[in-house]
Assembly symmetry: C2
Homo-oligomer: 206 residues x 2
């Protein structure tokens, strides 16, 4: 692409550095901004700048937060000895939406993924081990996505926690509520049979 303006080229280039946004889409987005009032671009530019320079992470769970200790960790209503291990803030938001979890979170900030150069030291694992070592935790619940990387990360943390004989669990995998059995993939269906639960228990939830 040849641009008639360096300013435009530069904006398009930086926009196209975002994941899933190619040069063409970036150009479309930037031209859209040029057609909108100047203030919209200013607000976007300022919000991004502000976010990156002011953002804080909760000292306890590593979730994104505007204060030192996030709302969830600070709440007296949450059971601090049940820790749910998740990848990032999106998972926290998803689980919070269910209103089913009363413990606190531990945000790793990613998954172990040698292909992307992400090893255990890049993740927020040691503080979790510390908490467990200090006997602050009753149960660690793994809620990472069920992929190669997620499973590797689960297993790595599990091994790290082994010496402390803390209770560990992982969220249940199974057929989605409302899904037809015949369309389920066989691994999921297989797991949901192996890990079946007493019928009375299924009456309690929801």
């Amino acid at each position: 692409m040849e641009f008639s303006s360096k300013l435009l080229e530069n904006a398009v280039y930086e926009m196209s550095q975002l994941p899933g946004i190619g040069k063409r889409t970036a150009l479309r987005l930037v031209l859209h901004l040029l057609r909108q009032p100047k203030e919209q671009t200013e607000r976007l530019s300022f919000a991004l700048h502000n976010l990156r320079s002011e953002i804080k992470y909760c000292n306890s769970c590593n979730n994104i937060s505007d204060v030192e200790i996030c709302e969830i960790c600070a709440s007296p209503k949450r059971e601090k000895d049940f820790i749910c291990v998740v990848e990032d803030i999106r998972d926290v938001m998803a689980i919070e939406n269910t209103n089913q979890f009363k413990g606190i979170y531990h945000v790793l900030g990613g998954k172990i993924s040698p292909i992307d150069g992400i090893g255990p030291s890049h993740l927020n694992i040691s503080t979790l081990v510390e908490k467990v070592a200090n006997n602050e935790v009753k149960e660690v619940i793994f809620a990472l996505s069920s992929t190669m990387e997620g499973d590797t990360t689960n297993f790595y943390i599990y091994k790290q926690l082994e010496p402390y004989s803390v209770r560990t669990s992982t969220i249940a995998r199974g057929i989605s509520v409302g899904d037809e059995l015949e369309f389920a993939d066989e691994v999921t269906l297989g797991r949901s049979i192996v890990n079946r639960i007493p019928f009375e228990n299924s009456l309690k939830s929801s």
Copy 2:
């Protein structure tokens, strides 16, 4: 969506104001930026701010440019009396890529679209009429997309130019080079038959 951070919420909101970017995608993009070095966000924020505050439009053709008169309008090699009317800079870039046009452009900045509240006065039409009235133009070539809005805009400008008896033309519509006839839509195929050209002419191009 409930966010644990106002900064994050604000950045996601501003990002989701871009066309085709919903809240979820915006969150994914913003979290990506948080995982990258701080400089990347700074560069994006700065490039957008700079673009919007420094951008200039060519005084002659209204294309985006870093200088008062854009490279194309300033070039002595271009034939200034052949003016190609296009919607925006993307069309200029597309036509320039073909290397088939030696005239100059006239960028409207949009199409007449009552639904979006865009009337003729919002577009850069009067300067084109002026140029034609001043006898500076031999031919006006319409190269707007062949939609309801494009056709309306073509016709409006055509009517404006009528008193000056300037030559007007529109780019040819027809089957794409390399396309199979059987898959072409009937309107396009119909037009390509009505507007057929002498066979010898087809040998010249390409």
